[in-house]
Symmetry: C2
Subunit: 119 residues, 2 copies
């Protein structure tokens, strides 16, 4: 079982909601789904990751792996997000080596969580 | 299998490290371990939840449950944290009803994550 890239589709990125305009989170999700997902990665929309002050927000999870929550992210970051999701999926523990992390993912980290059952 | 209360023991809570003084995160972990853990809750120390700007930080996880990351927390919050962990452990999905959440846990939420495999 591979990795899951969760994309918060309710994220407003601190903007007031505009009628008829998808939220920044929904726009990010749409952009990420334009190309085939990287090998071993499933892209899943989620309603609210409760990181509203740091949206748009994404999270990477996977069995036996540390989970990482990143934000703020934007449509312009889509390519970098997919590349990083592929790197995450290629790990066994979810920890992409620090040197291999683009600055975006070094700086825009909201939190991480140990693997479920890792104790 | 019950819930796990992760406590970041490296959290400095924005303070400079002081020689010979445990970090605020380590102090919080020690305070939480002074009494027996609530039923169905395991308390586990973790080195860095990568939420350093919002420390001291805790996280609640469990199989089939949403995970929640909360901070900043302090030793003074220990009793409330244990009560909330017990309420979390009593759920099947990790979602403590909004009305049952103390203000501390409504306001000091850093992020949440869907259950692993919930797709």
């Amino acid at each position: 079982m591979g990795a899951t890239l969760h994309v918060c589709i309710t994220c407003r990125a601190s903007l007031a909601p505009a009628e008829g305009v998808p939220s920044p989170g929904a726009q990010l999700h749409a952009a990420l789904c334009e190309a085939p997902a990287p090998e071993g990665v499933q892209i899943r929309p989620v309603e609210c990751l409760s990181a509203c002050r740091s949206g748009a927000t994404i999270a990477l999870t996977g069995p036996g792996r540390w989970s990482y929550i990143h934000g703020p992210m934007s449509v312009a970051d889509s390519g970098a997000i997919l590349d990083f999701a592929a790197a995450y999926a290629a790990t066994t523990d979810g920890i992409v080596p620090w040197r291999a992390r683009p600055a975006l993912f070094r700086k825009h980290v909201i939190a991480r969580l140990p693997p479920l059952g890792d104790f």
